[in-house]
Structures are given as C-alpha cells and as structure tokens.
C-alpha cells in the first residue's frame, strides 16, 4: 500500500533522507521509529505532498505522490505532529471543512463526521470550540477528521506526543479499532512501548537511513528475551539472554547491583546504532 523506493531528501547542509526504501502492506500497522531529526516527519511530508523528494519514488496505493499528487492525497488521511485544527471553529465545523476539501457531498459529510467522532469517543464535543479542548481531545479530533473520507492509508506523525499515559493508551485503543476498518496505518513515534503495542512491523530510522526492519518480536528475538543492565565503571552495560535463569545467574555474579528486564525495541536500536533513541 505504501512503497518508498530509494527516497532521498536534502535540506541545506544535511541529508534528511538518504536512500530510504520500504514497503508497507495493506491493512498493516507500521511504526517508523527514530530519534528526533532522523527523518520520520520528512517521510510523512513526502507521502502527503508537503515536501518533494530529491530522488527516488514514493507511491501510495500504487499512485506516485509526485506525478499524481491529488489522486494520492485522496487516498491518505493525515494526522500531523502539530495540532492543526482551526481554533476559531467548532469540532463539527473543522470536520465539515475537511469533508468539503475532499469533495464529499453534504449528507455524507454529516454522517461520516458523526461516525468518526463516535469512533474516537468525542461525539459529545462536536459543538465545542476547538480552543476549549484539552490536548488529548484535540488529538482525537484530528484522527477523527483524518478518517472522515475513509482513507485507505492513515499517516500518523507522533500521534501521542505530549499526552499523559492514560490518554495515550486510549488513543492506542482507538488506533487498534481503526485497523479493523482495513486501513493501512503508518505511524512515526519515538515511544518504544507505542511501537511494541501497536505495530505489526517497525523500521528504525537513523540519520536518514533505515537501519533495522521487521516485526517487533522478531527484531527483539535477535538479541534474546531477557536483558541485564549493570554499571560498568561509568557506563551502563547491557547483556542479553534467552533464558531468565541464565540472566539471573549472570547478574548475581556481577560485582555491583543489576536489573533484570525483558528485551525491548530500544535495545535493538542501541545494538544497531550504538545510541539510545531519545
């Protein structure tokens, strides 16, 4: 459903994307992970036509986003990192304008707006001015708006950034429910637990390159199931084990304190790049 073929993008003085290639299948939830400045948002902006690639091809549903931008845009729903709702208007008015931008007739606009708001549990705030909503509500309204025209691809750029854990979990549940409609979801995040919970597959992006790609469990299994963290001088050292008992024994044999935990995706990123995600 999404194909990136050797995408490059250069901004003044730096390569934002350096030959990124990946394929996201229909109905998949795909997480795009990386530290700030890795090129995640640039990828989303290229897919949504907000930014032109310098090289390579980007396709959505087989449609080239550069050659046929309006056709490609009609297939996508976008939730940007920044809240881009019209603060002077109500929730319903924001959705109505979105429907108009996508050429939806009046009756359909009203019905889809109601359904989208209900799906995200914000139907009770339809007549509220956006400026009166909390951050969590605004995020949910943005997702509801992006779903209004029933896109085949939903692009979520850091959808839960800045939200408290409880609100974040409610949004995760909503995203899981959206997948049931058959939409393909590409989300960027730097929250490890978000990717682990939501994604069928993840790609790690570092300095404009994909450095690891696969199912979360598959990537983590390459390291083992258990991790032992311990201080080695001034550095934190992490060792990986398949067996809990083996990890426990290893930790007990260390001269200082240690902690035993499950392997996570951050370990994968650390192993591949030598750096932490955040």
């Amino acid at each position: 459903m999404i194909d990136l073929e050797n995408i490059t993008k250069r901004f003044v003085g730096a390569n934002a994307l350096n030959g990124v290639s990946l394929r996201v299948g229909a109905g998949e939830i795909f997480a795009y992970l990386g530290p700030n400045g890795a090129g995640k948002t640039t990828t989303i902006r290229i897919l949504t036509g907000l930014c032109a690639p310098d090289g390579g091809r980007a396709l959505v549903g087989g449609v080239d986003v550069v050659a046929q931008p309006t056709v490609a845009k009609a297939l996508c729903g976008v939730v940007s990192q920044a809240v881009n709702l019209d603060q002077e208007l109500t929730v319903a008015e924001n959705l109505d304008i979105h429907g108009r931008l996508f050429g939806m007739p009046p009756g359909l606009r009203e019905r889809r707006a109601r359904e989208s708001l209900e799906r995200l549990d914000v139907a009770d705030r339809a007549d509220s001015p956006v400026r009166e909503l909390s951050g969590g509500y605004k995020r949910r309204v943005m997702i509801a708006r992006a779903l209004m025209h029933e896109p085949r691809v939903l692009l979520l750029d850091e959808p839960t950034v800045g939200l408290d854990p409880a609100v974040r979990r409610r949004l995760w549940a909503a995203i899981k429910r959206i997948r049931e409609t058959g939409a393909t979801i590409l989300l960027t995040t730097h929250y490890i637990e978000e990717a682990e919970f939501l994604a069928d597959r993840v790609a790690f992006l570092d300095a404009g390159r994909v450095v690891a790609l696969g199912a979360p469990r598959e990537l983590m299994a390459r390291l083992g199931d258990w991790a032992v963290d311990a201080l080695n001088g001034e550095e934190l050292r992490t060792d990986f084990f398949n067996d809990r008992g083996e990890a426990q024994t290893f930790g007990a044999g260390l001269p200082g304190p240690f902690s035993l935990r499950r392997v996570n995706l951050e370990d994968v990123f650390l192993r591949v790049t030598g750096r932490k995600l955040a």
């Binding site: 907000l50 930014c51 009609a74 940007s80 709702l85 019209d86 208007l89 304008i97 931008l101 050429g103």
Partner: protein, 243 residues
C-alpha cells in the same frame, strides 16, 4: 483544477462571520479617521466641488485594497501559527483551487470594506453614484491585491516579513495612489511614476464612475491584466510552497 475552492472560501467566510461585528468595525476605523481628518476638519473644495466628494471614492478604493491585502495576514497565521495550511495541502486541492478560494475571500472583505466606506460617506453627506462601473473598478482592484497577497504570503518566511511588505508596499500606495489628491497635479515625472501603481487606476476609475464622468476603458483593462498576472503568480507560489 479548481476543486476545493469552495471549501477554502467557506472556511474564510465562516471565520469572517464568527468575528462578525469586530471585523466590520475594524474595517471602518481608517476610512472614518481619514474622513474626519481630511474631509471634515480640513474641509474645502477641489475644482469647485466639495473635497469630501473627491475623497470618498478614493477611500473606497483604498479600503478595498487594504482589506483584500489583509487576507495575507490571515494566511500567515494559518500557515505559520495554526498550521492549517498543512491540512489544505494534504487534501486533494490543486493550487489554483486554493488560490481562487482565498482570492474570493479577500475580494469579499475588500468589497465589504468599500461598501462600509460608501456608507460612512453617506453619513458625511456624500452621495456618490455607485453604479456597476464603480463596483467593477473596486472588484478588479480587490482581485489584484488579494491575488498579490496570496502570492506574497506564500513567499515570505515569517510574520515580520509580512509586516515589512505592508510597510513598504501598501502604506506608500495608500497615500500615493490618488486617494487624497489628484495625481495629475504632480510634476510630470511623478505623475508618470504613480501611474505604475494599480491603486492609481482604481481610484481614477472609481472616482470617474462615482461622479458620473466619462469612463475610459483603460483603467479596467490595466487592473484586469494586473489581476490575472498576480493570480498566476499566486498559483505558482502556492505550488512552490513546499519545503
């Protein structure tokens, strides 16, 4: 090619309606001050006719210019502050559709401001003949300045740039475009220079129409031509407004 224009226009109209009286009142401030200062306090005659009769059509043209141009500030806020422009750009709306919606919104504001100015003129005892030619001149003037506003709003990089453009382009034009004095009375070289300003042609056409004088077609063609050029510039600017 123009798909989405009505959504863009609808949004601007909705916001204009939401702001309602505040916007209408703000549109009256400048013309009212000019009427009080130049028309009333310094009242006199020009070519044996009351100066106010000369001033009101010029002020209507100036108001249509400033309010059409004001769409640039709203576009800037939507683009740099609220990021609403991203939402429009992510939608299947062609640049021409976006420009058409914004330009029509700018023209609506410009013509509303001109109508208010004419209304204020009535309160000061001036009854200009506001026939179709008068409104055509102001509509073409609004078309040019709204198109220029959309195009330049896409080119600038910050709110500060916007303020600078207004200071360097709109403010001098407001004073030199024939609003307050007949440009024909200036030295030949200055007169020729001021004929390069679109507002000069708008004020001349609007004033001639308002006083029932014979109307040459030239100002209308010049304003229309300049408007089309500015519209094309705006479409190209929107198409390039990607990072």
């Amino acid at each position: 090619m123009i798909r989405g224009w009505s959504a863009v226009y609808y949004r601007e109209a909705l916001i204009l309606r939401r702001r309602g009286l505040k916007t209408l009142a703000s549109m009256c401030v400048s013309p009212l001050l000019y009427l009080l200062a130049f028309g009333w306090a310094m009242s006199g005659t020009l070519d044996d006719s009351p100066y106010l009769r000369f001033l009101v059509p010029g002020l209507a043209a100036m108001s249509s210019m400033t309010q059409s141009w004001a769409i640039a500030a709203d576009i800037n806020i939507a683009r740099f502050y609220w990021r609403i422009f991203d939402e429009v750009q992510s939608a299947p709306v062609a640049p021409m559709g976006y420009v058409l919606g914004e330009v029509l919104a700018g023209m609506t504001r410009g013509l509303a401001a001109a109508a208010l100015t004419v209304g204020l003129g009535l309160a000061f005892g001036v009854r200009p003949w506001c026939g179709p030619a008068f409104w055509l001149a102001l509509a073409l003037n609004s078309f040019f300045f709204a198109s220029l506003a959309v195009g330049l709003a896409m080119r600038i990089k910050s709110h500060a740039d916007q303020a600078m453009l207004t200071n360097f382009v709109i403010t001098p034009m407001a004073f030199l475009g024939g609003t307050f004095f007949p440009v024909e009375r200036l030295p030949e070289w200055a007169h020729t220079l001021l004929l390069l300003l679109p507002l000069t042609h708008a004020t001349r056409a609007a004033r001639a129409a308002a006083t029932g004088a014979t109307l040459p077609p030239t100002p209308f063609f010049l304003l229309g031509g300049a408007g089309v050029a500015a519209f094309v510039f705006a479409v190209r600017s929107v198409a390039k407004a990607r990072d």
